[in-house]
């Protein structure tokens, strides 16, 4: 009996020690980040983050909708990095409210609003054209896409699947409706006919399709177009004359994360001036900071016909608009 007692005590001590050790180990464990950003965008930033902070990152690449699901389902997912504020806004409950010290350097429109999020970069919607395939046509905005020669040569992703496509839809509605989204559906109807049944499954298929010459023109986001440009593809970026909506994307911390401190470091790093300079200069994203200039590859903000959207209207109507687009698109095919 005595022996058993001693064994039990030793076992209890060992178990306690193991549990204790495990708690300590927590500090060296990695954070899990889900991101809809392109691979080439993620890689240098994560490498630098790991190098400079020593915090290990485990990356999961997936679309915006998937990323939101993962945050909702899995408490081990600490951060959602990317995804436009328009898309993620409705899920604000999932996230932790954090104000980074860097926020004081942010442009006013990017200072955290009511959403639990830190703005990270600004992503205007743009048209990308393949210089070799466009056939000398001058594309200045949405209106030029209705040219009969372009039927079937336009790359556009399903707004239900791609957030950049949804943003383009919003952009179209506001720009072509002259500020009233309901008036923009006329254009959308004509536009879907020009697609001639080509609705792509992901945003990457749009810019890659144009860069590889499969399509002459595509509706995408600025950073992707810049990346294509930087990799010496024969493409041009067109900022729509009718108006450009730029939606900021953010960094969202899972409110159930067990590593909030590390998450804060991640947010601080990503909004740090050096990082924002790097993003702006080499990755084609527009910074949210006042003290960072945009890349020479993109048009300065002042030279763009910026239009603003009512975030509330957009988030409220998101599902409705996607459904309506689907109806119109299918009508276009049948007609």
């Amino acid at each position: 009996m005595k022996r058993w007692g001693v064994t039990l005590i030793i076992a209890a001590l060992a178990a306690g020690c193991l549990i204790g050790c495990k708690d300590k180990e927590e500090d060296t464990s990695s954070i899990v980040v889900v991101s809809p950003h392109p691979n080439g965008f993620i890689k240098p930033l994560i490498h630098e983050f790991e190098n400079s902070t020593g915090i290990e990152v485990r990356m999961i690449e997936c679309g915006t909708a998937d990323a939101i699901d993962k945050v909702a389902e899995d408490d081990d997912v600490d951060i959602m990095w990317g995804g436009s504020v328009l898309t993620v806004g409705p899920f604000s409950d999932l996230f932790y409210q954090y104000e980074t010290p860097n926020e004081k350097y942010f442009k006013d429109e990017y200072k955290a609003s009511d959403i639990a999020c830190t703005f990270f970069s600004d992503v205007p919607s743009v048209i990308i054209i393949n210089n070799d395939m466009i056939g000398g046509k001058k594309i200045k905005g949405y209106a030029d896409l209705l040219d009969s020669d372009l039927v079937g040569k336009i790359a556009f992703a399903n707004p239900a699947k791609s957030s950049s496509s949804f943003e383009h839809l919003v952009n179209m509605l506001y720009a072509m409706g002259g500020g009233d989204p309901e008036k923009g559906w006329d254009y959308v109807g004509k536009f879907t006919k020009s697609l001639s049944g080509n609705l792509l499954d992901s945003s990457s298929m749009v810019y890659e399709g144009v860069a590889n010459g499969r399509y002459a023109v595509g509706l995408t986001f600025e950073e992707a177009a810049v990346t294509m440009l930087k990799s010496d593809k024969h493409v041009s970026i067109i900022y729509m004359d009718e108006g450009v909506v730029s939606t900021p994307d953010g960094i969202y911390i899972n409110k159930n994360s067990k590593k909030i401190d590390k998450c804060k470091k991640f947010v601080d790093f990503m909004t740090d001036r050096n990082t924002q300079i790097y993003i702006a200069q080499t990755l084609g994203r527009r910074s949210v900071r006042i003290d960072v200039e945009a890349s020479g590859l993109v048009l300065p903000k002042n030279d763009i016909n910026n239009i603003t959207v009512d975030k509330k209207t957009v988030t409220e109507n998101k599902d409705k608009w996607i459904a309506k687009f689907k109806d119109i698109y299918e009508e276009g095919i049948d007609g």
Partner: protein, 554 residues
Amino acid sequence: MGKEVRSFHENIKRIFMRFALLPVASIAAILLVMFVFLWNMFMVAGNRKDNTEISEKLSGIMDNYISMVDETAQIVAREGLSIEADDIYPIIYEKTAEYGDIGNYVLLSSDGSVIFSSKDYAPVFITGQEYLNWGVWRKIRDNEGITSVVLYEGNLCVTKGIYQNDKLFRAIVYIIPGEVISSAVGDKGRYVFVTDKNGWIYASNTKGLRDSFGQIRDELFAKTGYIRSGTTTYYSYMTDIPGKNLRVYTVNDVTGSIRIVIMLAAVIVVIFTAISIITVKSTEISSERLTKDIKKMADAFEEVQKGNLDVSLNISSSKEFQIIGNDFNEMLGGLKNQIEQNKELEHNAAFFQVKQLESQFNPHFLFNTLDNIRFMAKIDEKAADKMIVSLSGLLRYSIREIREEVTVREDLDNLQYYLNILQIRFNKRFSYSIDVSEDIMDCLIPKLLLQPLLENSVKYGFAGREKLNVKIKGYLLTGQLIFICDDDGAGMDEALLNEIKANLNEPANKSSHYGLYNINRRINLMYNGSAKLDIMGKKGEGTLIRITIPKKKG
């Protein structure tokens, strides 16, 4: 709890199992475990050896480059603004000569402008303005005055900042030629990865086991030991190269080996199962064959125990058992002879006893009859004459008849002499009837069976009575002969009846009731207990004596 006694056959089988099957199984298991253990040991040892080799080699290379950067940094610090390429080239050449590639040694001012490059160009990640606080530059600034190693966009750089008056004055970035590290990785029989401490791969001999960013897979990151990834199992060993921001992973894909071990184990199990089945079967058969003679003996003994002595043991399988068998046969033969002799002796003894018993009636009867004749001779000569004739007939039958058994008819005929004597003696006081069925007349019964019954009736029946009637009956019932002597005489009181009954079963007669005792003893001796004598009766109501004997045809 009592232990079950097993059969010899079972014991032999168990011995086979215990001393053949069990050791083989244990040895096979031990061999398999040893095989796995040794394989694991060699694999791990080989892996570690390679890892150590590469680590040491890399460490040496890195030390060399670091010392180069340190030495040149001293010159740069000493020379200050008047530094010239000629001041440092000798050191660079000296340190890199053995690798056949000078590498890109870049000396920069703190704003990123190139002062000197051994390859006459500098990559954008050290010259671009947006990189001045990024990547390599960040490392230089974070590690003030310390030579450090940084991996940036696939370039392994040794860097050092030279400070003057607490301000960054110059920076040295030496980009190590990729070939130098790849040749250190060499051509090993396993996967080798050289990564920075965050797992970003710099050099490797495989395209696999990395994620889409070029980091070593999470499963392998910073781990040593067995790692399972999907359906593949790896053994990975990791070493840090201290101070060089490098890690070396050596990874074995052990999936195939584990499969082989599992298959080997499966084959061994299958073979062993087969062997076991065969062994069990064959031991069953051979132990049965080997113990067949033992079984024979056991059976023979059992037979003997049951009383069957007509058994013999035929054993030819082994000498020892043959001796036992022959001795058994001899012994049993002797025993049988002995028993037979005993039987004969017993028979003879019984015969003599029967003869003696038979003859016992004579004196009493003779005494009574002669007394009667003496009396008759005075009152009735004729009757006396008849009595004498009857007595002599009876004596003749008794003496002359040497057969032990006679037919019922003969015995009845001779009983008539006795009845005649009684008839004369008691005249009208005595009456009798004989009712013996005709079908048993030729059956054999002991000589003078019925006479003692009549004698008994007369002896006790007349006590205080005027008349006595005796009925003699004989018939066949379920294969046995039944004789009844039923009188209506005075009968016997209970005490007497019990005394006679008890006396009947005594080995020697202790009372004066010779007649019944003798007849009972005789039939028991002659029929080996399958005959019996019953007495029933009540004081004042007469006596009934019944004899049951086996039927025997004459």
